[in-house]
Subunit: 202 residues, 2 copies
DNA sequence: GTCTATATCCAGATAGAC
DNA sequence: GTCTATCTGGATATAGAC
């Protein structure tokens, strides 16, 4: 009687090729821009003919979708691997730094994940769920720092994404805005945690 | 003897058509995305054949360039038409509100002016000079509010563009982040002007 | 100024052989 | 799984008539 082997070598190989395609896609976007990605160039880069890509992805949008999901998984992993301190200010500093560094590392990934720059693209439900997980993680970090109100969270995301946006738009690869993170956290903390915040609430 | 008439009707007509093309281009980008603009669709929208556009613009990039310049002129006009108050906090509030409202009004314009989303596009020297004027205006407003340091200016642009970015990315057309502007100005002012700032300096 | 006709090239996607 | 061949349609841009 035939038994299924423990390892599915075919599935493994398929996964490996899929990963290779995505890696090549990221590289191409870095040089051609996110919207400039073409299946021809992608196929050529990995030594395939364009139609062969369709064995792995049903459409170009499916590739964007996989990239979107992968980027969000990378960010989740990045957040998970941090050694989170216990104090509020430490948590906020690390949270901001991790996000801004992740964003500035790869402009195209930043645009795909956080901006609506590709005309037709909308992430699938599965990919979008990962993006929601990222938001939940951020919210959990802020809660760990004692901040639970929606208003405080919105202000926080504005501050952090502002630093990232300016760094990317005006000095990609530099650290002119990155260096402002600690001070930004200070002025945020002054307002939203500790004595002052309690005084305003009471 | 022939004398040149005071009005150059031909030039006027050419200008009018140029303006019409640009207006149609903006409308198309709003529905198709910035990168999705095509000369075919643009020509059709104004009842022309595609080659006729080349009488007015040498290339597609020239159209993007004119749009870039126009957007910056619109922002300069917007800043100029404000009735600027005398007090620092009033100046900052109006400055932030004017910029964020301008940004959220038209997402494609925002992307063209403030983000590098089109693969090949780089503004011409003339158009770029207008973008510099915008920055100078912003800097002048901040100076009028008593803030002259580079670091304070960088922090300010991060805060303002963060509010705009979040509003556009997460709730286009809404005011969830717009409503945070006054509070954002408050926490900024607490840090960078008045007693506290002087104490930190001294 | 606007047109027709055309050049040149590229895009994403499918059919079906092997 | 990967290929060749092909479909269909799009793009920007130019030449030259009117």
């Amino acid at each position: 009687m035939l038994v299924a082997p423990k390892r599915d070598r075919r599935a493994e190989r398929r996964e490996a090729t899929t990963a290779e395609i995505l890696e090549a896609a990221w590289e191409l976007t870095r040089s051609q821009g996110l919207a400039g990605l073409s299946l021809r160039a992608l196929a050529e880069k990995i030594g395939m003919r364009p139609p062969s890509l369709y064995w792995y992805f049903n459409s170009k949008n499916a590739i964007y979708d996989a990239m979107f999901a992968q980027g969000n998984r990378q960010l989740l992993a990045r957040l998970a691997e941090q050694r989170w301190p216990a104090d509020a200010k430490g948590i906020l500093r690390l949270s901001a730094r991790a996000f801004v560094e992740f964003s500035t590392e790869d402009v195209q990934r930043y645009q795909l994940l956080f901006q609506r720059t590709i005309p037709g693209f909308q992430p699938s439900a599965e990919a979008y769920a990962l993006a929601m997980q990222v938001v939940d993680q951020m919210r959990a970090r802020l809660a760990a720092a004692g901040l639970t109100e929606q208003r405080a969270f919105d202000m926080w995301t504005a501050l952090v994404s502002g630093v990232a946006a300016q760094q990317i738009a005006n000095e990609p690869g530099g650290d002119r805005w990155l260096r402002l993170i600690d001070e930004m956290v200070d002025i945020y903390v002054d307002r939203f945690t500790g004595k002052q915040a309690r005084r305003e609430k009471g």
